[in-house]
Amino acid sequence: NAGVTQTPKFRILKIGQSMTLQCAQDMNHNYMYWYRQDPGMGLKLIYYSVGAGITDKGEVPNGYNVSRSTTEDFPLRLELAAPSQTSVYFCASSYSGAGNTIYFGEGSWLTVV
């Protein structure tokens, strides 16, 4: 089982550049999430989706955009990268319904210089 797959694993961006973090899951989960984790901090929710065509903001959505055209894919786009977006990004997914466990991808390390 591939589970949740994120690409790229590592990336260095220059200030003002744009990029897309890819996320795919093969577990037929309805719910998908993007989190960021800064050093010494917990995970903060950026955006989430409850199904194809539906997305909503989390705690820290500014500077990011998402789309969910299929159940499997949930890309995260960074427009005009800023040093404050240097972080580790985790994509995750879960079955629909409350309280279900969330499965994480292995993370994408992003540095903006």
């Binding site: 629909s96 319904g97 309280g99 993370g107």
Partner: protein, 117 residues
Amino acid sequence: EDKVVQSPLSLVVHEGDTVTLNCSYEVTNFRSLLWYKQEKKAPTFLFMLTSSGIEKKSGRLSSILDKKELSSILNITATQTGDSAIYLCAGASTGLNYGGATNKLIFGTGTLLAVQP
């Protein structure tokens, strides 16, 4: 504002010691509390607690939820160096959106556990 607070922030113990990690939460529409272990990469699931007072166990790890105190503890007995990691606690918030249930996790900052040989 929803929040999850973990203590201590970090802990150094010797192999064989028993440790207790604490988590308190203030989560709107609280559904469950989850514990994750994070080593070098992504968090891996440990426990999900939905009922107060019922202990969940997995080997040397156990956890319990106290809904009256809005808290949970994670115990690790006979610690080993492989237990060294960040332990994350998260409160699951549920609600209705787009005609269905939503499921969001609010994470604490984690407890860094270092187990020395």
